[in-house]
Amino acid sequence: MTKEPLLQVRDLKVHFKLGKRGMFGEPSVVHAVDGVSFDVAPGTTFGVVGESGSGKTTSALAVMRLVEATGGSVMLGDTDVLQLRGEALRMARRRMQIIFQDPYSSLNPRVRAGAIVREPLELLDVGSPAEWDERVAELFRLVGLRPEQRALFPHQFSGGQRQRIGIARALATNPEVIVCDEPVSALDVAIQAQILNLLRRLQTELGLTYLFISHDLGVVQHMCDEIAVMYLGQIVERADRISLFRQPLHPYTWALLSAVPSAAPSAKGRRSRVRLQGDPPSPIDLPPGCRFAGRCPFAEDRCRQSDPPLRAIRPGHLVACHLVSEDGRAPHMEAIEA
């Protein structure tokens, strides 16, 4: 990556305190996001994948300042978003916007579509009121809606069209960074392609930078230039899209990839498969050592004792696993060859 990163996240932490257990108990803490760092170059898409509870959405919300971070920094250009207060934070919101997962619950049912898209312009004082109407019409055209649909209410749109309204709203302030939090997972399969193509087209036309959160590995592979795999609040592997999918190094990444059913008939039954047992453990009061050790088929004693650091195996390919050798041999590779 030669370009200066637009977004630099360093050691981001989000901890939630729970109530005390019993009268004299220690309060327990949910380590939802626990030391996450990554860079996003301008005009690229950075993907965060993981299962529910991995902290991917919380990370995105913390970057957006929609959830208060416990520690770390989020540099947007030269500004640390986490340090901003009051008016400065409000103005910084022009530069970063979010598209939510559920287009049904993220649009106010009592407000017309045009007013929904105009709201960020009003709230963040973008341009003059005289320009707003024309800007909203332009945004509608940009996302593939007709300007005359501004007068309709959200329930008069289909799921895909609603997500287009959500995208238009996010684009209203001409942001540099857009956080896409599972933007297609609530949509019907045939509609997902429409939205994914639209997002990629907008990126090319407007030079947008995306932070793309998804649990769907196929979608992430298609959309993202660089990808971080999260497990229980931490990044376990980070790489560009080609390296990550060609040569996953972390056993969890490998397990995740092999769990995706393939629709290609030729691949049926030929894939090396690994089945993880059980569910991810709860992020409350984590055991010492690697967080994946409990489900990892290769775990050794040292995995349960010390936390593996995230280290670079090749330039741009980082992994947090004791068992990956310096020259990039991962434990599952031997299992596949055997």
Binding site: S52, V189, A193, Q194, L196, G218, Q221, R246, A263
Partner: protein
């Protein structure tokens, strides 16, 4: 070939709406052999779940009804069978796993009570025997410490475990047909893989036939041997899974496969645009027209599409209902 276990012929399901009677399923025919797995795919609103409800005799009345056709289980027509007979069949010979395990389990009964209820009703087991069967079923679906779990309530279980409980419940009476309606959509991918393995293992053991309803072509490839593709309440394509996925004939099937970014082990550096199916599925009021229902969204639309396409046989036992597909393609 032996007689199929479940045979649906010319099924028609109608609903009363404000705009009159609407056919939500038309001319639907399919067979399911004992021990086989049939996949039903399509977008939401294509009649997949309604097909499942019709087979279960659970079409919501009084506004909905089965208006024609037959559903034969081992030769016995369930459409003409009375409610008392259907009660014997449901949960016993044909059972169903629903999509959302949280809302389909009763939060105020233990999972043991809920699994046990089926066997007590259908097989007349005592409370104690039913509880033992529940423990046995929980063990069969791979829940650790079943003796303890059997006394727990649904909220104490994770999503994957709840879905296992649903499967345990559905299989408690060793049904001959299991209908799984999007059984893994609410689950994480690693847990989904566990559930798929579980379904396959149980099927191999018990010989239960499975109808898998899904919109995920990957799930179909993993589990099904035959697939029917539905659109607007009609079957548009039907064939063995490898043929449907490898050589889809209907433009809708092609679209469904190509519009999804499939995970590749060796992704190309260049990314193409995804194929889009424009528009949306027709609403209830648009059903029952005389032309091909897919025509408004179809890229291969032609003049004939104003008339309803007839089902054509393709190579082998692959059939398709589309004017654009030439007769007897091979």
């Amino acid at each position: 070939m032996t007689a199929p276990l479940l045979s649906v012929r010319d099924l028609r399901v109608e609903f009363d709406t404000r705009d009159g009677i609407v056919p939500v399923i038309q001319n639907l025919s399919f067979d399911l052999r004992a021990g086989g797995t049939l996949g039903i795919v399509g977008e939401s609103g294509c009649g997949k779940s309604m097909t499942a409800l019709a087979v279960m005799g659970l079409v919501p009345g009084p506004m909905g009804r089965i208006a024609g056709g037959s559903i034969r289980l081992d030769g016995e027509d369930l459409v003409t069978a009375g409610e008392p007979r259907l009660r014997q069949v449901r949960g016993n010979e044909i059972s169903m796993v629903f999509q959302e395990p949280m809302t389909s389990l009763n939060p105020v009964f233990t999972v043991g009570d809920q699994i046990g209820e089926t066997v007590r009703v259908h097989q007349g087991l005592s409370r104690r025997e039913a509880m033992n069967r529940a423990v046995e079923m929980l063990r069969a679906v791979g829940i650790p410490a079943p003796e303890k779990r059997v006394h727990e309530y649904p909220h104490q279980l994770s999503g994957g475990m709840r879905q296992r409980v649903m499967i345990a419940m559905a299989l408690a009476c060793r049904p001959r047909v299991l209908i799984a309606d999007e059984p893994t959509t609410a689950l994480d991918v690693t847990v989904q893989a566990q559930i798929f393995d579980l379904l396959q293992d149980l099927q191999a053991e018990t010989g239960t036939a499975i109808i898998l309803i899904t919109h995920d072509m990957g799930a179909i490839a993993e589990l099904a041997e035959r697939v029917i593709v539905m659109y607007a309440g009609r079957k548009v394509e039907d064939g063995p899974v490898d043929e449907i996925l490898g050589q889809p004939l209907h433009p809708y099937t092609k679209g469904l496969i190509r519009c999804v970014p499939h995970l590749e082990a060796d992704p190309p550096a260049e990314r193409r645009e995804l194929m889009e199916i424009p528009g949306v599925v027709p609403g209830l009021s648009q059903l029952g027209g005389s032309g091909c229902p897919f025509a408004p969204r179809c890229s291969e639309r032609r003049a004939e599409c104003n008339a309803m396409p007839v089902e054509k046989a393709g190579a082998g036992d692959h059939s398709v209902a589309c004017w654009a597909v030439p007769e007897a393609t091979s």
